[in-house]
Symmetry: C2
Subunit: 209 residues, 2 copies
DNA sequence: CGTCTCTTTGACAGCATTCAACGTGTGTGG
DNA sequence: CCACACACGTTGAATGCTGTCAAAGAGACG
């Protein structure tokens, strides 16, 4: 059975590249309310999309790594802010150019595929958030990181504990505590505070289920 | 009684449509793992997309009302199941037809827009789930229902308490308790168990923030 | 070497879940 | 028309987990 998404060729360049941008850690890329003039593709480093709540709390909608495209909006303005997590470089694809590119069927399909990626990502995030316990959430988060890592068993966090907490709807303390519990139970092993070795993938999948 | 063809006019009028389908409450529309052969548009009634967890628990990914399109998948198979909440009628758009339709720029644009709608919906859901308390979640849910209701102050739930609970990552008991608290605090008023009048919209927005 | 941020750990209070029981409504068959 | 069954909804009490407040340890960088 063929599906439109299957026809898309991920290997091809999305578009003729726009301006290349560099950002230092924690620098804003765009802010909620800004005009949404372009999509952004991560060339290197890591990006987070963020929502700031009225009570001062922060919520992370997604993390983006090399190859990921972000900045999709339904309307003319950004509903989220985007920030550099680590030092990173991006390429911008302006919507003006995209409108023209819609004549090109291949590019249209790639754009569609990246949107579907974002949708799948958001749905996976919902699954993570709705399914109860802190242990389950962390296990799920580790597995998510694992899938995006070169070595599936060695994860290098690009982000701080605080970022993980705001992504999972937990507090920093709970994240820290739960990670140590996972370590004590031999599910994981710390190389450093930001590097984790997964010692029991099946076990983590059970915790996550 | 409206003519089905009328509902199709604004979106994808030129597409070859599959048969119109009718479903009784709680009947499956498709199941996770099925081949994703078509998108579905709700003509009338309400649909939920569902994820069944290994421990027997259930999670609702989204609710869809008249005019909404669902069934977007990144791969060739459905990752979620879809079920009728109420008695409902749908129209299917097969991917075969869509692939041909990608030549038509206007249809492509509409398809893209519906995907963005799904993305925005999922992001709003993430926001709801991550932002703490049961009261905040219910307030957010009521506001979400309000925006989709003809009369913004009178909501008619199509779904059971159990569905609301699985959508918000809560238990039925907590949903029930929290709704009565909101009633006692005069934020809402029950016409019946499935009909609520919102008496304090600004107040609910504060609770939700 | 000192300062700052990040991370970890502890104690306690608060809130959601769990288990249990009781109302409520709806539809079916007698 | 009534009675009953069954699914849905509400309420109560106790447990357990996460948030909060507080403080100390660990790295990074000048």
């Amino acid at each position: 059975m063929r599906n439109i998404a299957q026809d898309l060729q991920p290997a091809m360049a999305l578009l003729a590249t726009g301006p290349v941008q560099h950002f230092a850690p924690n620098r804003p890329i765009y802010v909620a309310g800004d005009a949404a003039e372009a999509l952004h593709k991560v060339v290197s480093g890591m990006v987070r999309t963020v929502r700031f709540l009225h009570d001062g709390k922060r919520q992370i909608d997604a993390f983006y790594n090399s190859g990921d495209v972000f900045g999709f909006e339904r309307g003319a303005f950004h509903t989220l802010s985007a920030e550099a997590v680590s030092r990173c470089t991006l390429v911008a694809y302006r919507h003006k150019g995209l409108a023209v590119a819609m004549h090109n069927q291949e590019l249209t399909r790639q754009l569609y595929r990246h949107t579907l990626d974002g949708l799948a990502r958001a749905q996976a995030h919902v699954r993570l958030l709705a399914h109860g316990g802190a242990t389950a959430k962390l296990a799920g988060f580790l597995l998510e990181c694992s899938e995006r890592s070169a070595d599936g068993r060695l994860i290098t966090f690009g982000m701080a504990r605080h970022d993980i907490a705001d992504y999972l709807g937990l507090t920093v303390e709970t994240v820290s505590r739960t990670l140590t519990e996972l370590r004590k139970a031999s599910f994981i092993e710390f190389v450093s505070a930001r590097e984790v070795r997964l010692k029991n993938l099946p076990g983590l999948q059970v915790l996550n289920s």
